[in-house]
């Protein structure tokens, strides 16, 4: 991987894809001035409120400034035509957070391509994706499911949000508010990743803790956020909120979770007792030997307690360890005659300065899964 400008700070880029992604990232960018973000859409109307530095209009020829009209294939084509521009952007960042609402045209078609490019650029990718409401029709849900499968093959982590689950939580709300709720959920997720990688805490989390969960979670994570802005009984309320949160499936996701990152932020009145209560609750929910990375942040501007939990869906040994940057500068040179097996006593098959008799995985430095 490429070195960062400052040693311990990782460069995070947030990409909003399509209408939903642009709206979500755009509204968060207004709150966080130091965030580097990029809005990608084929529809010019998504960019009405933003400066030209952060917008990336694609498919000028294909859609002529219009939307993809729900066609996944067009969504894929418009981004494929601009991959070289995108590659330049992705090559210089360490983590890319991709936000998009699946089920439509652009996000479902483009996110698999973007994750593929980021994998090729050795950039970690975290995909935050919403699933459509079930009333939007079976077809859109099928498109979203299909797209997640394709995203999964390249992305490091996929965090899914089913809009249906939010519906139950806010049945009384107007529809605008319910869309805002899903944006708010992702804004919190982006915010917590950004804080994790950019701000030192009291009891720290950093990029490496994120790396650990990325490595072991086998592709899928859940994200839960809860907050309490009142003055008394704060920890109890947060525990209650986590238990009944629709995104934890009423606490089901917390049960028997194999690993998690827990991040507690609070104002200066945050007490150890409160942290202990919350952690005790979570500890009892998780499996006994769960891998928990835990951090506390003191947020001067905040009012109340915030808790962000990233829960790994499964915990497995990584299939292939592609963390190649450890010995990048001085890698051990392969001996010329090793492991040729039955071909060791023969005339070597040399093709373009490579001895084809040496196993390919050894020459290309492919790490074998243990």
């Amino acid at each position: 991987m490429k070195p960062s400008s400052k040693k311990n700070l990782k460069r995070i880029l947030v990409l909003g894809i399509g209408g939903s992604g642009c709206a979500c990232v755009g509204s968060y960018a207004k709150l966080n001035n130091s965030l580097s973000y990029m809005l990608i859409d084929s529809d010019e109307s998504s960019f009405s409120n933003f400066t030209s530095d952060n917008i990336f209009l694609i498919g000028k020829k294909l859609t002529r400034g219009g939307s993809t009209g729900g066609d996944v294939e067009i969504g894929r084509q418009v981004i494929e035509k601009d991959t070289s521009r995108l590659r330049v952007i992705l090559e210089v960042v360490d983590i890319v957070i991709i936000v998009g609402g699946l089920g439509g045209g652009l996000a479902s078609g483009a996110i698999p391509v973007i994750t593929r490019i980021s994998r090729e650029c050795l950039t970690r990718s975290i995909v935050l994706s919403t699933f459509p409401y079930s009333f939007e029709g079976k077809n859109r849900i099928e498109i979203a499911k299909d797209s997640v499968k394709r995203i999964r093959s390249h992305a490091d982590v996929v965090i899914k949000l089913h809009n249906d689950k939010l519906k139950k939580r806010i049945t009384e709300n107007r529809f605008e508010q319910s869309f805002k709720e899903s944006h708010f959920y992702f804004e919190n997720a982006i915010n917590s990743i950004w804080i994790m990688c950019n701000k030192p805490g009291i009891c720290g989390l950093d990029y490496s803790s994120l790396q650990t969960i990325i490595k072991f979670c086998d592709g899928f994570c859940h994200y839960v956020h809860a907050r309490c802005i009142e003055d008394s009984n704060r920890s109890k309320k947060i525990i209650n909120d986590l238990k009944n949160h629709p995104l934890t499936s009423k606490g089901l996701i917390l049960k028997d979770a194999p690993g998690a990152i827990i991040m507690i932020r609070g104002d200066k009145n945050l007490k150890l007792l409160e942290i202990e209560e919350i952690m005790n609750f979570l500890k009892d929910e998780f499996i006994d030997d769960a891998r928990i990375n835990f951090g506390i942040y003191n947020d001067e501007t905040a009012n109340g307690i915030f808790i962000d939990v990233f829960i790994a869906e499964t915990w497995q040994e990584p299939l292939i360890n592609d963390n190649l940057d450890i010995f990048d500068s001085q890698r051990e040179l392969a001996l010329s005659n090793d492991n040729k097996g039955v071909f060791s006593d023969m005339e070597p098959t040399v093709h373009r300065n490579q001895d084809l008799d040496i196993p390919t995985y050894r020459r290309k430095n492919i790490k074998l899964p243990k």
Partner: protein, 407 residues
Amino acid sequence: MTHNVIAALEIGTSAIRSVVCEIRDDDSISVLALSEVKSNGIRKGEIFDRNEVIDSVRLALKELELNYRKSISSIIISLSGGNTECYFSDAISRIADPNENIAQEILIDDITELSNIAKRVALPSNRVRLHSFNQYFKVDDIDNVINPLGMSCESLSLKVLTIHGKQSIVDNFQKLVADVPIDYIQAIYSGLSSALAVTNSAMRKSGVVVIDIGGGTTDYCIYHDNILKLCGTFTVGGDHITNDIAAGLQIPVENAEDVKIKEGNALLNLMERDRNISLPSSNNGFNGKIIRAVTLNTIIEARMEEIFQLVKNEIDQKLSNLSLSGGILITGGGSYLNGARDLSQKIFNLPSMIGKPIDTQGLPSVNDGPRFSALIGAVRYFRNNQKKMSNPSKFNKLINLFWGKVK
């Protein structure tokens, strides 16, 4: 043996196969008898223990005669020349009378003479010419003429493709065959013969790549416009996959071969991450081992991807922008590897198929097709050449004599 019945022999790295075929009037091939024995003494298409090879060939022929129930006196041989390559050469001849300088009609003699000149190529001393094929004529400034007879021009030029192999390998195979002893009629480059077996004229016209993955070598052949555009051999094959597995999993070569055939897949399937394969202990001193399917398939995928990539690089370098709408045909023993077809589709971005001999009856099952494609093709090549000789229509007779294009 009548001329319609032909025997063919292929001395490969992993197996020695032979067939007796009858060619029917409609040009379809009917297999009358076949034999297949394990090959000993050959590695990467080269002989390293001559006596063992001779024994294996004798055994194969004995078995063939037993199956055919008649003795076989003469045979055609399909061989991979070991590091076979292509060489393109040009020849130009002035048709017009130098004194008058008026364009004249191209006669058969002109074409004959030009073909003879173009075929004479200077190869390095360790290389030997295997086949020559005409590519295109150039009639003055008209490019890509296939048949210039009767056209009028001032000068005529011709491009010829020469397939050449390693002298030492070809010489030693010839000597070996003579010592068996077999009276061989003709020797044919195996990459070419398997391409002839699995493609028809329409496929060759639209552009097709035939990749014959054998035990020790991989032959490839590219046809376009019914003309052989490029062919060659890499001395990498199924044995390399086996050797990679043996080295990577630290198991004996015999067990590596077994697990490759039974469980190997050229495509890494992430869903298989929890599948373990237990290798039983065997009487060669191996104590048994449990391996992960993903480890096995990572090793195989790396090697197979490299083999396809080698062929792709050759095509990209030498034949850029050639339309290959006929797709990829994989044949030979390597085509039996699971996922090989899908992997080639992924790498070449072209439709891929398993190449099986077409218009052929009498093989024990359809699945046996890819293994025998080099032999069936050799028979077909011989038949095509024979037909050209024995079909003395005045026009075809002379044209075909020097016209390498196979109908």
